[in-house]
């Protein structure tokens, strides 16, 4: 049996190693020098879908919302073996809040065709669209499991997965179609860790056209403030100043001093 998966992928600000003030003023963010990256948990969700395809056959489709800024996440999906990609590009949707984006993504999923599994990452700390997975599942009327760590079994009309909860794990079974929101930190050597882009596919897919849909194509009337919430102000947060002191393991004197300071 083949399984059809749709993966929601996001390009997010790369907030590692931020330098300088991000809050330019109470009403503006200084995002000019920020770089972006493929949301790491979305990459884990993508890998889950690709492994299902490797094992069971079927298709994987990736859907993104918003014009590409620095990293074309859909092309990165093609480089990893995704069959089909589609992007929602619409200024009203992009200016909208998570609810507006969720409505657009739900419409795009319907246009692609309802999948057996809808997958996305949870997006643990960044503000951008971290409720997207839950909202899209609600809009499509799909049962969902959140904080999914791994799959146990898929078939016979259901999916069994293990999800993280406080102090442990929970094994849950959902009927297909279902939405899985993946939230897991993976070590490089983990069998669930995302694969790299394939050189062959990079050559093949470099210029492949990427389908773009606007609100009209999706038959959508956009309410840019569907949730009624908006960022009302920004404050720069005074950063805790830590000056990391590097100590080589062989430096007995430095180790001794460190222990003395810690004991003091």
């Amino acid at each position: 049996m083949g399984l059809n998966c749709i993966v929601l992928v996001r390009e997010v600000w790369d907030t590692r190693d931020l330098v300088g003030e991000i809050a330019a003023s109470a009403s503006e963010l200084n995002t000019g020098r920020l770089t972006t990256r493929f949301e790491p948990e979305d990459l884990n969700a993508l890998e889950m879908a690709l492994q299902l395809k490797d094992e069971l056959g079927g298709t994987v489709t990736a859907v993104a919302v918003g014009a590409s800024r620095q990293v074309d996440v859909l092309r990165e999906c093609l480089y990893r073996g995704v069959d089909q990609v589609a992007r929602v590009v619409d200024t009203a949707v992009e200016a909208g809040d998570t609810s507006a984006k969720a409505a657009a993504v739900a419409a795009a999923v319907r246009k692609v065709g309802m999948p057996d599994l809808l997958l996305s990452g949870l997006d643990v700390v960044e503000g951008e669209n971290s409720q997207l997975g839950v909202e899209v599942a609600c809009r499509l009327g799909l049962p969902r499991a959140n904080y999914v760590d791994r799959l146990e079994a898929v078939g016979n009309g259901s999916v069994t997965c293990v999800r993280a909860v406080e102090g442990g794990y929970e094994t849950v079974r959902l009927p297909l179609p279902a939405a899985l929101i993946v939230g897991v930190a993976l070590l490089k050597e983990d069998p669930r860790a995302p694969r790299s882009a394939k050189a062959r596919l990079k050559l093949q897919m470099k210029k492949a056209p990427i389908e773009q849909w606007d609100a009209t194509a999706l038959g959508l009337s956009v309410d840019p403030a569907a949730s009624g919430l908006a960022a009302a102000g920004y404050e720069a947060v005074l950063q805790r100043e830590i000056q990391p002191r590097m100590i080589e393991a062989g430096d007995e004197g430095a180790l001794k001093q460190m222990v003395q300071e810690l004991k003091a």
Binding site: R144, Y147, V172, A185, L229, P244, V259
Partner: protein, 323 residues
Amino acid sequence: MSNDIWVYAEHNAEGLTDLSLQCLAKGRQLAAELGGNVTALLVGSQVEPLAEAAAAHGADRVLTAADARLEHFGPDAYQRVVAAAAKTAPPRGFLFPASTQGTDLASGVAQALGTGCVLDCQNVTVAADRLVGRRLEYDRNVLTSYSGPVDTLVVTVKDGIAAPAEPVAGATVETTNVEVVLDDADLVTQVLQRDVAARTVNLKEASIIVAAGAGVGSKENFSLVEELARTLGGEVGATRAAVDAGWTTLDRQIGQTGETVRPDLYVACGISGAVQHRVGMMDSKRIVALNNDPNAPIFRFSHYCVVGDLLEVIPKLIALWQA
């Protein structure tokens, strides 16, 4: 529109969770400013016995949604029950703990109520008669305030938002059972198994924690970490990877789905510093990281960064500490 604050009071085998008690305490502050009341909503199979604890920690009124079909958390069923209850008397603010359950549920309930949700609030304030959810973004560089023309603001709140209130002995409270209406479609998620550790240790109260990550490598090496903890008079903590490897128990896990700790001294052994772990320990007063990779992300937010093999470094530290 009422000026009431609702709190989703999450519970586990030990009773109301600490974060739920913090929500109740925060709810009290907000209700006092708004001139409203605090309602605690309890959902589960047998929740009536928890009503008293909710009252003792600040609830003026308790709503219980008790039904055998709600024994385990299922997003669809819980969402339907919670949203239906809130629709009968929409509160000004609806506080959920920022737990795995609260996070999933809050987004869904907000959607069902047609309102917005702010996740992971460090604080919730009242400004011009409206609630404002404030959350840290951009790797804690920016505190963003969210508000809007919404009747009901749904938020999840982070650990540390308010100290749980001292319980009031013998608090009596008006308890109302809400009607639970569920269809088969709401009950499609089956919980087959739960592996949740009983808590044998309170890491939150430890002033010294020595924690192990995947880089520790083996159960045998893990015992070295335990020895270091004993020497320092601290507790042993672990990352999810170290717990998954079977070196220690789940109740010692620190991070996103484990404990959030702020000890005086945190010694991270073989921990790379993935964000899921970092969020649980980054506010420790002093952080010592031991890692053989000089580029390990944890070195960016540690006070002392010891680069080298743990098997070499840990015995040295034990000897120096005892000297």
